[in-house]
Amino acid sequence: MSESSSREAILDRIRAASGGGQNPAVTAEEAAQRFGRLPRDYQVRGELTVRACQELFMERLREYDAKVVECAPEELGATIAAQIEASGRRRFIAASGDPNAWLVTAAWQITGFECDIDHGLTVTEIEQAEGVITACFCGVADSGTIALHHSATEGRRVITLLPDWHLCIVRASQIVETLPEYFDRCKQPPPELVTWISGPSATADIEMTRIKGVHGPRFLNVIVVNDREQGPGTK
């Protein structure tokens, strides 16, 4: 059967199954209205204080075996340098959107430190890097998830995949408590490329024993930059 006739046959079967009528196109507005009518009585808004939410985010990431540190905005360069120093790695790549601002400060003082900015690096070049440095779009505390939408500061998908060590900079103002709060931040238009990362790569395929590090980065380091008021009070 030719492909176009398969298409018609499948759509005909679906129409017949749905009562024989046509399939009136569901417009974007209609679909959005339907979403509005859904019973969203699950937790949509977070309830924690700013500080508690940030702590939950860090705790959840640590449970996935990620390394998490906090720093003040003015300490970011030095903190990145300290992380790189401690990692023992020297060959890095970074997302193209302005990571220079962070890197120049202190990391270049480290002996042997190299960093290529991704302006179209080849796979081989990326594969040779020992680590990668990027920003992110959002952090979700409830599930300890980092969302990359692969803008210039978050980098192409491949750069956060091949290097074994991923250093991700999360600004405290990017952290939300619940997944629905993250989706609220994504509205109009929704992102075209997303990688949701919850810890380093892992598997439990052998006897359900969780092993950290398979094909994706085996190490995930996160720096949370305290760029907003941390005081008490709710959001």
Partner: protein, 524 residues
Amino acid sequence: MSAVVEHEVVAEREVMTEREVMDRPILDPALAPPFPVAALPLLRNLQLRKNVAHAIDVIQAKRARLVAEKPDWQALRSAASRIRDEALQDLGAYLEQFEARCTAAGGTVHWALDAADARKIILKILREEKADEVIKIKTMTSAEIQLNPFLEANGVRTYETDLAEIILQLGEGEPSHIVVPALHVNRGQVREIFARRMGIENLSDEPEALTAAARNYLRQKFLSVPTAISGANFLIAETGSVVVVESEGNGRMCLTLPRTMITLAGIEKVLPRFADLEVMLQLLARSATGERMNPYTSLWTGVTPGDGPQKFHVVLLDNGRSSILGRKTERQTLRCIRCAACMNTCPVYRQTGGHAYGSVYPGPIGAILTPQLEQMRHAQSLPFASSLCGACYEVCPVKINIPEVLLELRARVTDQERKQALRFFDPLYLGLRAANLIFSRAWLFHAAQRMGRIALRLFTREDGWIHALPGIGAKWTQTRDLRGLPDQTFHEWWEKNRDRGNKGPREKGRKRTSDRGNKGADGQ
């Protein structure tokens, strides 16, 4: 150890002994034996049962802990089942919307009526790409259409990249679970397979070492094979995006590095909107692996210049799904998001493991999905492979009432059997016909009771129990004892004793009972 070593797969296939051929489970529903027949050797395989029980206990405990910490779990389930129902209600419209958006974003959408259609489309794309090897992300849909043997027979080498799938591919095994396909294999068995097929001496059986071996084995493949095949967890109609949920990063490798990407997805995988993921992603990982979130979830839309594959094909597969859509009770089967929580909680699956189901979809969801995908022509024993305890319904994140569908399918199987002439030789059928006759006439029923009492007395031991029956009755007494019949039935006792009661509230009852007694007497 950062050096990348490519291990060549040891090419020559070990000649399988006859015993091993017999042991290889058959997961083609058209060829598989009925569930009880397939289950028997598995029940005798204590190692396998131990492996399955261990894996399931671990997942179950993790899932239970994480579900308990979500006070809004039931609200999430309700929302998810509503979203899935909405997608199925307007499936045609949402598929066309997905097709339009995906095409606009540079993807190519193909429609496959059945398994053969899908295999043909995929092979055609591979031929156009001049691909003689592909890397694959775990997809049960590909196993459903038996893609790998077809591609291999047509000169395309397939490399599974999910750890469990590598274990099965190299060990020539079959999946027994939809999330953890090799959960019936233990570390010692994995070590043996890897050592033999990857040619590694002195390989330890520590999961860390085995995982590292798989990483090294695949690294060059990821970097060099230009074509990949994936399944899909969700298709987003609103944006034309595809979502793949995974843990190891093998998925991201296949989605990012090759030149050409082919995604095979069942037509039911569509979600109306991007925002629907706020519900689905909260449910899926918790239900499937007992994690708050799986390590990696990827979403992509057609092709993105400079990032990832520059050619992207989606194959939308029907293969029996549209026939499920038209049935009111059964339609909910298509809500499934393949989390496997139902098989993890199922007391039957726990004992037999997945191979007894004779399908790549085992467990309770397989018991309802497989016969329907086969249009009730095969796998008719599966709806009966359940105790109807309802545990699967309770854990299902999209609230599929599996027991309800099981009963519906049992009725359809029974209707089929009723049409067969051979039924007159089936002792079960004859027995049920006889019972129908006896139960509909009171005098016959009483007579049968008296005869039964006399007959069973022959087999009743002094302890009041029947330990062994001859003929078809042995099917019961093989595994359980039967209480011997008492000397009189309740009816007989009541006939003798009903006048000994007092007045008061019993007055009414006495009257009604004596009416019934009279009717019985009339009948006699």
